[in-house]
Symmetry: C2
Subunit: 105 residues, 2 copies
Amino acid sequence: MSDTPYYEHHVFICMNRREDGRPCCAARGAQAAQQHAKQRIKQLNLNGPGKVRINQSGCLDRCDEGPVMVVYPQGTWYTYVDNEDIDEIIDSHLIGGNVVERLKI
Amino acid sequence: MSDTPYYEHHVFICMNRREDGRPCCAARGAQAAQQHAKQRIKQLNLNGPGKVRINQSGCLDRCDEGPVMVVYPQGTWYTYVDNEDIDEIIDSHLIGGNVVERLKI
């Protein structure tokens, strides 16, 4: 299980939507965050095998801490508020290799 | 980045559907596979933090090798044909810790 990872950073952004009033990532800006991250990674030419992949996912089941995303294979979980947070995760973690402690959950 | 993972095995099953005739996981049984995996993990009482999470995801961008899934944090990629393949991945990899070489991509 020690192969070189197919993606250096594989990011899953929870896009789950609940209709019953319970907290969900979709109601807290997940779609905009995912689109921003995907677009920025593409602009930086960081998308692709050996580099970065930004994915949407179903419910990651950490709803109370949301909106949430996870970066694999490191297994680092983040919450975020706005595009500045997303950019900080991209710049610090995905490019610089340094976890953003203030956003980590 | 060496914390204990939130999920011991976090499985993402590509559910992407293309409408333009190009190959996609949705057209090759991804939804049935994801439902089967989720149900079986629940029956085995393996779902939850510290254990297993079965997620659906957007396009993992390995369409030609699909249908595909990936198990993190190990970063092991699999293809599959039917529920027997899914069960083998559950029994061998998720429970036993042994990669299923014949399904690995």
